[in-house]
Symmetry: C2
Subunit: 374 residues, 2 copies
Amino acid sequence: MKKIGILGGGQLGRMLLQAAANYPVETFVLENDEQCPAAHLCHHFTKGDIRAFDDVYHFGKGLDALTIEIESVNAEALEKLEAEGVKIYPKPSALRTIKDKVVQKQFYKNNQIPTSDFVITNSLAELNEQLHFLPAAHKLGMGGYDGKGVQLLRTNADLEKGFDAPAVLEKLVRIKKEISMIVAVSDKGDTALYPPVDMVFDNQLNLLDYQISPAQLPEKVLWKVEAVALKVVKDLKSPGIFAVELFVDIDDNVLVNETAPRVHNSGHHTIEANYSSQFDMLWRIMLGYPLGCTDHILPAAIVNLIGAEGYSGEAVYEGLNEILQIENVFVHIYGKKETRPGRKMGHVTVLSKEKQELIHQANRIKHSLVVKSN
Amino acid sequence: MKKIGILGGGQLGRMLLQAAANYPVETFVLENDEQCPAAHLCHHFTKGDIRAFDDVYHFGKGLDALTIEIESVNAEALEKLEAEGVKIYPKPSALRTIKDKVVQKQFYKNNQIPTSDFVITNSLAELNEQLHFLPAAHKLGMGGYDGKGVQLLRTNADLEKGFDAPAVLEKLVRIKKEISMIVAVSDKGDTALYPPVDMVFDNQLNLLDYQISPAQLPEKVLWKVEAVALKVVKDLKSPGIFAVELFVDIDDNVLVNETAPRVHNSGHHTIEANYSSQFDMLWRIMLGYPLGCTDHILPAAIVNLIGAEGYSGEAVYEGLNEILQIENVFVHIYGKKETRPGRKMGHVTVLSKEKQELIHQANRIKHSLVVKSN
């Protein structure tokens, strides 16, 4: 059996390991938190820091392949492991392109991949020279995740919220829709595209409300979305799973927002809704099997379960029984002992042929199921 | 989080633990083989004998609930644990009724549940007095599993194959179909029936060829099947998952063959084909959640992957790549290191609206995918 490791032991690792149990593979996880969601689902757990060269190198040495759950891993160790014959998904070169948002944005520009206009700022002083560029999003080059490391700068008064470090200042796009495309790339370079996902935001709070797949797009826009997402992964020149997030602007231009070189929140519905889930697909890639079928079995919606404001401590899932009574609903709770405001604690998938039913149940779930603490 | 244990660590435990990772639950497995398919997927693995009183009692003490993967567990220990407040799925009383085939058969008779005619034989000498009862199946009371402990006695010459121990001699039924019904029973006694499964046998070798769900049955026969299966679980008076195997004879009579008080091979397609799988359903029952929806998302076929004759040793899955290229196919390999002739090594599920497509792919899988050894 092949030995395959995962850097990070959160919910993505957890769902990867649920899928791994369909195949002959020996699994390894590196993570500092021994109580993490994935710790008990692998064959071999190693306590260690995914950002530390030695921890990653010693963990990966002797494995057949490695993948990641998060971009903030030690890329130098992965490069050394790759040079010594360990297969890395994604390749460290692709990871380096993506993990620094400055490099990522320049990669889009250099490869003529459509993306919003931007300037690089290395300090607050440099940012202050770009007043004419507002309104814009300021994105920290390294270290941002889950909404951290991004500031919306609408007026001059917002400038103090900017980053005094290398960052990208991106012109705000007049967005009609936000779309995510999950793309699979095999070792041979074969690709498979999942149907696009419509990421529906609450306009007032700028929170992701729910995701619907497949996204409703005019055919010509769908073609652009697919072409742009394919170009991103082709230019990254790496096998693996990629989530390409895109904007469709009010003129139906398609612009890449950012790319994640790994399984992604916007693909969780594929567990139930598609023949081969994004997790199944990554194992197929790493084990050298044929790519799976990305077709829908049924259309789906996802609602994320986020720790409610004002609650920290042992998690309690209020409203869970009500939601589990809905026939076409699938609950995924990540088994994190402690909730905190904004922490991703689980997700719920709805399957239905009817878009109105998906939206109706997504809203019901959002209002009924709340993660609090004792 | 509730603490829930499984007696046995084979493929049923493995699939239970894959499903457990959707819920907040701390999992435990008792099994002698530390390399078993479920060992690495639980929070806490205990090496021990599921048939030994002390091992089962110490394992279960302090847990909230226990379930089983196989009937041949120590029932005395489960009775003591139940008396001390541990919830057991199924209840030890139901397990005792089922695990001895003599008692099981008498239970059907005492409860007016239709079943084939039978006599009890306690020895070969007693068997020899029942020549007029042939052709019949002779089933060992205790200790039979997976086809072991069953002999077909067609003529007097077969009598020497019978068991010199307490056993049931069952008159052969003129079978039109074999059906399996998975039934869920909650703590409160609520029940949910899965669609019936058609168990299709190879008439020449008497091997299970594949399973199709839902079974094609005239409405009146379906009603009988459902009524008989429900009566079995109601009379067993226990929460849990039950697989009721039934014969439909050439006159459309419905007779119970036997019942398993646990998740079952004939329900594996529910992982992909039904909203709530049999594994998901058992966690819902044990965690006190509402019962899930047993409806099909799509009809399904299952093919079991059995170790090929003539091969023992480290397993090799010949033809796997070809099968993984089929769009509507889901492969489950149980991760057993060693194959042996007849050993259950995995199963493959096919989903399709078209019954002909299910049968076509099931046959293709049976002929293309072979478990050999190095």
